[in-house]
C-alpha cells in the first residue's frame, strides 16, 4: 500500500510515465489504484513525431504492469516523510 498512498499524494501533479517499450507519456496524474494503474489527463506522448498514433487521446489509463519508471518533480516529494512511512511499513511486514 505504500506506493499507492504515495501516488495518491501526487494526484494533480505533472508526471512522466515511461513504459517498458520505451514509449514515454507526460500528463497530470488524475488517479491511481492498488495495482498502480494510473490515469493521466492532458496526456502527451514524448517524441510525438515518432509516435503520432496517440495524438487524438484526451486522457489515458495506463496499466501498472507496463510501467518501467515514473518521473516526479522532486519538489512534490517529502523524502523524510516517505522514508519514515517506508520504515513503518517494512516493520509492519514482520
Amino acid at each position: 500500500m505504500l506506493f499507492y498512498s504515495f501516488f495518491k499524494t501526487l494526484v494533480g501533479k505533472e508526471i512522466a510515465v515511461e513504459l517498458k517499450n520505451d514509449v514515454a507519456l507526460t500528463g497530470t496524474l488524475h488517479s491511481v489504484d492498488q495495482y498502480l494503474n494510473v490515469k493521466l489527463t492532458d496526456v502527451q506522448v514524448v517524441d510525438a513525431e515518432r509516435y503520432p498514433q496517440l495524438g487524438a487521446i484526451k486522457n489515458c489509463f495506463i496499466r501498472g504492469s507496463v510501467v518501467r519508471y515514473i518521473q516526479i518533480p522532486s519538489a512534490d516529494v517529502d523524502t523524510e516523510l516517505l522514508q519514515d512511512a517506508c520504515r513503518k511499513e517494512s516493520a509492519q511486514g514482520k
Binding site: 494526484v11 513504459l19 517499450n21 491511481v32 498514433q53 487524438a56 486522457n59 489515458c60 495506463i62
Partner: protein, 138 residues
Amino acid sequence: MGLPGMGFQHPVPPPPPPPAFFPGSASLFEQLDKRVMVVLRDGRHLVGVMRSYDQFSNIVLEDTHERHFVRDIFGDISLGLYLVRGDALVLMGELDETREETPRLRRVSADEIIEAQQEASAEERQDAKLDWLFQDLS
C-alpha cells in the same frame, strides 16, 4: 394486503456505484461507453467503444477497428466485438474524434491503407508496430 399478484411494487433502490468508483482510484468507469484507443503489448492499436471491464482490466470493445499507420496516413479495418485480455493491455485512451485527423496524419479507407501497407517496404510496415512492441514478445 401485499399478496403476490396484487400489483404492489416495492421501490427499487438505485444500484450502488461500481466498486472501482472511489475518489482517487484509477477507474475504467469514466471510459465506459466512450470511444477509446487501446494499445496492446504486440504493438497493435485498436479503436472501439468500451462496453465493460473488470478488475483485471479485461475489456469488451464494441465496433472494434484495428488502426493501421503507414507514414502520414492511417486507416481502420473492422473487426467487430472484442474481448481484450487485461494482461495484453498497455493503455487505453479516450478518443477526441475532432483530433483524429491532423495536417500530419490523414485518414484513408480500409482498402487504401491495406494497399499502402503492401506497397510500403517490409521495414516501414513493421515500424509503427515495432515501436510499440514490448521486448518480451519479440
